[in-house]
Subunit: 224 residues, 2 copies
Amino acid sequence: MVDNNIFDNNSLSRLIAEKITEEIITGKLKAGDKLIEANYAEEFGTSRAPIREAFYLLAIDGLVERIPRKGSVVKGYSERDIIDLLEIRMMLESLAIERIAELDTPESSLIHMEQLVNKMDLVDGDRLEYAMLNQKFHLGIIEMSKSDIIANMYSRLGLPLLSLQRLSFEWVENINKSLKEHHIILNHLRKKQFDDAKKVLIKHNQKVFNPRGKSQPSIKGFNN
Amino acid sequence: MVDNNIFDNNSLSRLIAEKITEEIITGKLKAGDKLIEANYAEEFGTSRAPIREAFYLLAIDGLVERIPRKGSVVKGYSERDIIDLLEIRMMLESLAIERIAELDTPESSLIHMEQLVNKMDLVDGDRLEYAMLNQKFHLGIIEMSKSDIIANMYSRLGLPLLSLQRLSFEWVENINKSLKEHHIILNHLRKKQFDDAKKVLIKHNQKVFNPRGKSQPSIKGFNN
DNA sequence: ACTTTTATTAATGTATACAATACCAGAACT
DNA sequence: AGTTCTGGTATTGTATACATTAATAAAAGT
């Protein structure tokens, strides 16, 4: 028995969930948009069953909200929500660094992170591309901690933030500072100056969001 | 139009999920136990569809792990996992107190919490009962923060910890100190001494885990 | 005109049936 | 004995059909 081929992404539902995730992150689907099972079933040429599963997977990642007997909508986050998400993300990353300090991080991980940061230096103007790489950087720190719990918690924050950062970046002003800080954090990690790494990381996170007065859209198609 | 009756717990799946949650928390179901859709379908006299949904709800709360094409099992947590869970819980509660400090907490909330703590004083020997009340206390702090995000994150931690606390309480030794601290935290909140509340809370949480007999792979030595 | 009622339609919830896959025990082979 | 086939069974994955509920529109009453 040969192993699964490339297309078998562990069942349809995962594949569909990934596709919808992409649509949310790229902004094709916006907060409040209603997701209709039948529509997607037709679009993907399947029955509603795997679509439902996909919606659940998305709900776990915090991208979709399921309202019993009403349906599934793309979850919206208020300004307050985003502040809390960022705060919690920072806490998790701080904790991750504490955990990293207790381990020997293999050279390969550090190299991987450095490659990532170098790639970010070269991005020129594509917000989505930058947001994706940035996400990978933060995720990389989480993974270095080798803590399933932290990683699990983080996954609930990461994607919603990714879908928002694209919009709310103060692109021009902060990008250069942000890039430099990534390098600094990595250097501290390499030199095992974990307290310093933490300090820079905390500052780094505190500067990410500049609220701009956008409020949460209401959900269309529902009678609230 | 009269509102839904008491039995309509917003669809079967929620009800089933609650029931299974109870079985996990009370220890009837143990980590690693496999959950078979068909079995539960028969037990509840339904088809497999709502059972599946229930499993997903449990997965969101971190009580069950879904492995594609294999099934659902009661999720187990290692000692390291528990340390991380507790650490994150502490962080979230700390953050919650910061948020509380920014609000006017209504008197009714404080009274509610005080009633809870008083009830805890009276519990005599029933670990599960105490663990449940303790859970409500911690949850109460989260709710006072009025942050959906914090509450959402917390729900992923709370139930797994609840299912573990019952087993590993160092009942006699620490219970009195723990009780006192609850009162102290509440008093600080009432007097708007939020920094003090936070400090006590952090200490309260840090004492929770005492890995003493490292030989034991289980969750021994975990209390609060 | 405005609200309430009623019918129609759309969408989710649940049940049943079948398909694909994983699991397991026993046979065949080395 | 141990390993690899092989078949049968258990269990999840998907499809289809129907039931129930929510959203929409039209009709009736005030």
